[in-house]
Amino acid sequence: MSATSIPPGAMPPDAIPEGVSAAPALPDVLPAPRARGKFGTLVYRHPTFVAGAAILGVMLFIAIFAPYLGTVDPTALAPAKRTRPPSAIYWFGTDMLGRDVYSRVMYGTRVSLIVGFGVALLSSVAGVLIGVISGFVRWLDSVIMRVMDGLMSIPPILLAIALMALTRGSVGNVITAITVSQVPQVARLIRGVVLSLREQPYVEAAVASGTRAPKIILRHILPNTVAPLTVQATYICAAAMITEAILSFIGAGTPPTIPSWGNIMAEGRALWQVKPYIVFFPAAFLSVTVLAVNLMGDGLRDWLDPRLAKRL
């Protein structure tokens, strides 16, 4: 639209004084800003977080409502109907003992999520405790950190296998074993954060204004460790799910009476060339869940503190 082609009636004629050429109304080249709701803004700003959270939400739903999702008893044997391919009755087929793989995978979600969340929570609590002690009690620091270095020098999976060998297989023991192997990472992260926060001027100002050490930790240190801790916890959650599946796969994890993705795969392993679906479905669920948790972790990291991208 040019200045010479003002459509008649675009402006009231008396608005333009004689001899003055008026600029036309601006064309609507710029679209109106899109109105987004709170949720829309969240999706737009943090798509990876939302995607991860959505998938994890579905998994959580499955874990909680497993008995109501058209499942049968996941441990019920039916030798006559073993190794059936996926069909309308057996959605994911049946395994070599005739158990319904769909039901087993649905119930297996529970084990994975409990282990993932349990390990993330426990190792966060223990790691923060050790990290804060290490960061504040300097003479203990080198002792604690050498122990942590020692734990970290053993591959987590081997450490977990070794610990499981000492006890009998149960979900609680699996959580404990994986937690022990993950604590050093959290402790080191938190120790580093505490050490750098201690040097912050606001912490020194708090010391100068008479704040005692416990209150400094509670008010000035811990709240500022939440962001890096949350991010680390999601990665640990994902690692714990994988470790649990590995432990179950090699028979060192959850007992065979409790279906978990790891032991479903272990049982299907012998037949995977002829009946691949037994392994495929639990493996797909495991991959998708771990991916979801990792997506959430990446999203959280970008959301909470972009600088963390370099630190982790």
């Binding site: 912050q200 001027p201 606001y202 020194e204 100002a205 708090a206 010391v207 100068a208 204004s209 008479g210 704040t211 005692r212 209150k215 008010r219 000035h220 709240p223 500022n224």
Partner: protein
């Protein structure tokens, strides 16, 4: 009050940091950050400590505040020795000396509201009993630093640099301190904001009778607000004088070099500049004799072997650590 003891007396204060290294992490060397510093501040007086970065001026402040423990020396606050007090005994003394830091962004906890930041010292020292009393005191502090009262519910990131520095000053005022140590308190601010904060500090000093220890490298600002100046070089005070004497008739060659480096806002002004060559020597291995001899244009043999002590020059209040009685003109 002129014959009373000064509010703050610092006597031969030393702070050496160990340098750890080697196979067993033993101490291999020492950083002589502060190496025998003596000065005093009267009530209501401003003493500025100036010097290059790394000369130990901030360490002096931190050591007085006991944010780090001194290696040696004595610090008296209002006649009471504080450098060797236990943490529990020191706590009530902390009420009387407060600090304002350089960086207005990292000196306020990002997760605390202004009200909680200002209430913290009040609660710590048991200066208030009820919530409403805290609210009154916090509102009064906001008035003192000329910030709107209704801003107390906000977080630090909602303020500009100058406003944050005002919050930092309000926090230092909260417990009713006699001495405020300003560690480069205006260095990180824009020039116009700098002037506002400096004026605020002088107004507060007049109003409350505060003593200020003003640590800075900015001589223009120092000249504007100080009563006395101590010039530091490599952990030692090389010259100590009242403002007018120091800026008009500096004695120590280092002071003269510093003063000639101050930019003058007049491009046509002809200046007799004294430019130092070389870097500040390492405080791990300071030069023998006079620490400044490696860069001093007037250094002679005695400077390399014998360390000059701080001694009165002419006026009793003017002290300088130089072997020369009269420093020759640059040309």
């Amino acid at each position: 009050m002129s014959d009373a003891r000064p509010l703050l007396e610092v006597n031969a204060l030393k702070k050496h940091y160990p340098v750890k290294g080697g196979l067993l992490g033993g101490e291999t060397a020492k950083v002589y950050a502060v190496d025998g510093v003596t000065f005093s501040i009267k009530r209501g007086e401003t003493l500025s400590v100036v010097g290059e970065s790394g000369c130990g001026k901030s360490t002096v402040g931190k050591t007085i505040l006991r944010l780090t423990d001194p290696t040696d020396g004595e610090v008296f606050l209002d006649g009471e020795r504080i450098d060797n007090l236990s943490a529990a005994r020191l706590r009530p003394m902390r009420r009387r000396m407060q600090v304002v830091f350089q960086d207005p962004f990292s000196s306020l906890n990002p997760r605390m509201r202004v009200r909680d930041i200002l209430a913290e010292p009040l609660v710590n020292f048991g200066l208030t009993r009820s919530r409403s009393e805290i609210d009154d005191r916090v509102a009064g502090l906001m008035d003192k630093v000329r910030l709107p009262r209704d801003a107390i519910g906000r977080f630090p990131h909602e303020f500009s640099g100058g406003q944050r520095q005002r919050i930092g000053i309000a926090r230092a005022l909260a417990p009713g301190a006699d001495l405020i140590i300003c560690d480069e308190a205006v260095s990180a601010l824009d020039v116009s904001v700098k002037a506002q904060i400096v004026n605020l500090l002088s107004d507060l000093q007049d109003e409350l009778g505060l003593a200020l220890l003003f640590i800075s490298h900015d001589l223009a600002i120092v000249e504007h607000l100080t009563h006395r100046v101590a010039v530091m070089y490599l952990g030692k005070i090389v010259e100590l004088a009242d403002r007018r004497t120091l800026f008009s008739t500096p004695h120590h060659p280092y002071t003269r070099a510093l003063l000639s480096a101050v930019p003058v806002p007049d491009p046509t002004a002809k200046r007799d500049r004294m430019v130092l060559t070389g870097d500040v020597p390492s405080p791990i291995n300071p030069p023998t004799g006079c620490r400044f001899h490696t860069r001093c244009p007037f250094a002679f043999d005695r400077c390399r072997t014998e360390e000059p002590m701080l001694r009165p020059i002419g006026d009793r209040e003017h002290q300088s650590a130089c072997h020369l009685d009269a420093v020759p003109a640059t040309h």
